[in-house]
Structures are given as C-alpha cells and as structure tokens.
C-alpha cells in the first residue's frame, strides 16, 4: 500500500495549535497519487461537532469514512446526553475505533470544552497523545521547525493564526506532497467552529 500509485493519499500538512481561549486548526489542499497531484482542493479539516475538528492525513477513503462515523457519533452523544462530547472523549472514541480496525491515517482531534482547549494526535493503530500543538503528515517536519521557533504559551487568536499559516506556508514550500493553499479554522467556546473564508486566508498570508 505504501508505494501504490492507485490510491489517493494526502501527502499532507495539518496543524493544530492551542491558544488562550481556543484552538487554531489548519491543513493544506493537496492530494497525491505517487508523484501526481490528484486533487488541488481537498478538504482535510472536518467539523465533527460545533466545538471539535478533525484533521486527516493518509488515505482519503479511510479519512472520510472516519469523519462520517465521528460526526454521527458526536451528534448522537450530544442529543442523548444533552451536552457536547469533550475533546478527550472524541479522541478516545477515535482511538478505540482505530484499535478495533486500524485505518491508514494520521489524525488530529482539536477542540474546546469546559476544561479548555486541547489537541490530540492519533496514529493509525489508535495511539492517542494530548499536546499543546501538533503537526501531522509528510510536511510535519517543516512545520515543527516553525512551531518550535514561534509557538509561545498564551498567544492571542491572531498570533496563533499567524503561526499556523507560517508553518503551512513553510511545508508548502519544501514538501512536494503539500500545497495548493490552505484551510484555517478557529474554534472558540463562544463562536464555535469558524472556518476562515478564502479572502480572510489570503489577507492573512499577504501579511506574512
């Protein structure tokens, strides 16, 4: 499967950053089949509830299937319990699904709840690790370079957005499997899931 040209993989750069009062989530737009760019506008950030986002890297089929399952599970949970699932809950649920049936994916579960903002990175076999920031996909080494330099505790939303955009820009420059623009999402307890429009993203990028 690793060298197959037949499957669409998101070579991918995705990123999740916590800041004071929320999280920033981002991903590039490129899907590849080997050296071929299969699609230039792929969705890799999924809204799985009002307060939790999923970013996906790996096989597109597995990633999309997981996003459907998680969206349904989180919605059901909220209807049955009358309160949204916590980020930790969503991460554990995802990990349990992957332990039962591994998917060729590397995921981030990013969101806010009563305990604050958090990022969980989840591997294909169901390992789930909480963090304050995390990057996944083939572009992650380049993003970590930016993150290690620029991430600070207690950033504002604008600072966090700027760091995320910079990191995704760096991986788009240096990773052959990442690029073609980016999605950026801010999740805060008050507003919920807020995806930046194309104009907002290009405004942000022009200032970097």
């Amino acid at each position: 499967m690793n060298d197959s040209m037949d499957v669409v993989k998101t070579g991918t750069s995705t990123i999740g950053i916590t800041f004071d009062g929320g999280v920033v989530v981002g991903a590039d737009h490129r899907a590849t089949m080997g050296h071929f760019i299969a699609n230039k506008n792929v969705q890799k950030v999924f809204k799985i509830s009002d307060s939790v986002a999923l970013t996906t890297a790996g096989l597109v089929g597995h990633a999309q299937s997981l996003s459907r399952t998680l969206t349904a599970e989180l919605r059901l949970y909220e209807l049955k319990h009358g309160t949204p699932m916590t980020v930790k809950g969503a991460a554990t649920l995802t990990a349990n699904i992957l332990v039962g049936r591994p998917h060729y994916v590397q995921l981030l579960i990013v969101g806010v709840d009563d305990s604050g903002s958090s990022v969980y990175s989840i591997d294909s076999a169901g390992g789930s690790i909480p963090d304050v920031y995390c990057a996944t996909g083939s572009g992650s080494p380049y993003m970590y370079g930016v993150l290690e330099d620029q991430f600070t505790e207690g950033m504002s939303v604008d600072e966090a957005l700027r760091v995320a955009a910079k990191a995704l820009l760096a991986s788009a420059q240096r990773d052959a499997a990442s690029g073609n623009g980016m999605d950026l999402v801010v999740i805060t307890p008050g507003v919920g899931f807020n995806q930046l429009s194309e104009d907002e993203v290009s405004n942000l990028l022009s200032g970097i």
């Binding site: 459907r68 399952t69 969206t71 349904a72 599970e73 919605r75 059901l76 209807l79 049955k80």
Partner: protein, 286 residues
C-alpha cells in the same frame, strides 16, 4: 422462587377464564335442564365468552387475531396512549409547533427531569404520549436512524423515511411473538426538501400526516378545537397561541407554566423555547 413465580403465572392465566366457566356450570346444575338445553347454554356461554370486549381468550398472544379480526394487545397498547399526557402539534406558515403539558402529579417532582419532547436531528422533533420508557427506546432508535442516514448517504434523512422506519419497527412488534407492542404514540415534526411535515404514529405502526393533530388523553378536545380554528399560513405566534388554547381546552386545570413546553421546527431546525419565552406566550392567552 422460580416455582412461586410459575404458580403466580398460572394463577394469572387462569383467573380470567375461570369465573365465567364456573358460573355457567353452576347455573346449569341449578336449573336441572335437559342435556340438549344444557348443550345450547354451553355453546351460548362459549360464544359470549369469546365475544367479550375484554378479548378474553384472544388477548394473551400479541400475534393472535380474535375471530372478529382484532389484535387485542395492540388495542390495549392504544389504551395506554389514550391515558397518556396530551401533546399537540400543528403546522404554520414556516414549520411546525409542538406543545406538551408534562402534567406533574406532585410539586415535589422536578419538572426538568421529565422528558416528553425530544430533538431527533437538526431538523426533526418528536413528542410522545403513553409509556415514557417505551418512548425513550423509540427516540433512541430514531436518533440513530437519522445518523445512519447521514453516514450512509451523506445527507439528512427525509421525514417520511424516518416515519416509515419507525413504523416498520413498531409493526414488527404486532406480528412476531415474544414481546409486546410499544405503548407509545409519537408526533413526528420535521422539515426537509419536500416541505413541512407532521406525522402521528400509533402502536400498531400505522401513521397519518396532519395539518394539526394531538395524541394522549385530551386528543378529542384538542382535535375539536383545531377543526374549528386551525387555518393554513398562520404566523408562528398565532400558531403557538392556538396550540396552547387547544391544549388548555383539553385540561381540567389551567395550564401550568412550569410544565408546558413548546418547540418549533422550521427551516432553522428544531428549537425548544426557553422558559421565559414560554411564559410570554402563556401570558398572551386570554
């Protein structure tokens, strides 16, 4: 313990049949009639026995028809709906209004702990009447069906599809032995590409679409009120007022602001009104 239970069961089973038969034999013996006359009486007794409205003899099995084509267990299940709390649903210009009165028996009961109105998906709400525990099973199932549809087809479920799925489920409990039917009726309100929908489903699995309907104890009073006063294209406020009036019509006491709940399903989705807004609507009643 098990033996005791079995004995108890036997007792229960025999009880309805015994007194009638015993009485009949006694009569025969006392009268000292001819054998022929006794025979006729016996047959008459048998016919009376099976024709009794309680469905004696034909009501123990869920899937057994009576000779006149009735399923008594299903009819009994309908009875439990008729004893349930009154819930009301009516269409208006942009959607559907659902109203329930939770009818709390004691001031010690915390009203919030009683649920009669449920959000099923973004665009669907259900109110129930009858056995609450049965209703919760159906509500859980409806919620799962909605998400299964989203997972399978990537789209929200059509209201008629959900109604049919729920009714298929209810129907299966009238045709296979081993379990009883649901003692619950549902008012299913929703909005989809095909328009605004209000359905009533009963324990047999039958369903009907309504402009304005009601289930539960006060059904006929509410329906009477709607038949004389419901109009198409009402505003939301007018529809809520009409719904509350109809519900009040069916109650012996006045509407209790703590126990009335109102939900609206329109193109914005399902929304249960908060307590303050509910009070405002109640205050507008004359």
């Amino acid at each position: 313990m098990l033996r005791k239970l079995n004995l108890f069961r036997q007792k229960l089973k025999l009880q309805p049949a015994c007194p009638g038969v015993a009485l009949h034999h006694q009569e025969c013996r006392d009268a000292q009639d001819s054998i022929r006359l006794r025979f006729i009486r016996l047959r008459l007794g048998f016919v009376l026995l099976t024709m009794q409205p309680s469905g004696r003899g034909y009501d123990s099995g869920v899937s057994t028809f009576s000779p006149d084509g009735r399923l008594y267990q299903v009819e009994y299940a309908r009875e439990s709906v008729k004893r349930g709390t009154t819930t009301v649903g009516l269409k208006y210009r942009d959607g559907v209004i659902l109203i329930v009165d939770k009818r709390i028996s004691s001031k010690l009961v915390i009203a919030d702990s009683i649920e009669k109105m449920y959000q099923i998906d973004d665009h669907i709400g259900i109110t129930t009447s009858g056995l609450v525990a049965d209703a919760r099973q159906l509500v859980d199932r409806a919620r799962v069906q909605c998400q299964v549809n989203r997972m399978t087809y990537g789209d929200s479920i059509a209201i008629t599809s959900l109604v049919k799925k729920m009714c298929d489920h209810k129907q299966s409990f009238t045709q296979y032995g081993g379990a009883r039917p649901f003692g619950t009726a549902l008012l299913i309100a929703g909005i989809d590409d095909e328009g605004i929908h209000l359905f009533e489903t009963d324990p047999s699995g039958a369903y009907q679409s309504y402009q304005a309907g009601a289930i539960g104890r006060g059904r006929s009073a509410v329906i009477d009120h709607f038949e004389s006063s419901w109009k198409a294209n009402m505003t939301q406020n007018a529809a809520i007022k009409l719904g509350l009036e109809a519900l009040r019509e069916s109650l012996e006491d006045d509407l209790n602001s703590d126990t009335v709940e109102i939900a609206v399903v329109n193109s914005d989705g399902y929304c249960k009104l908060d307590h303050e807004t509910t009070l405002k609507h109640l205050a507008k009643l004359s």
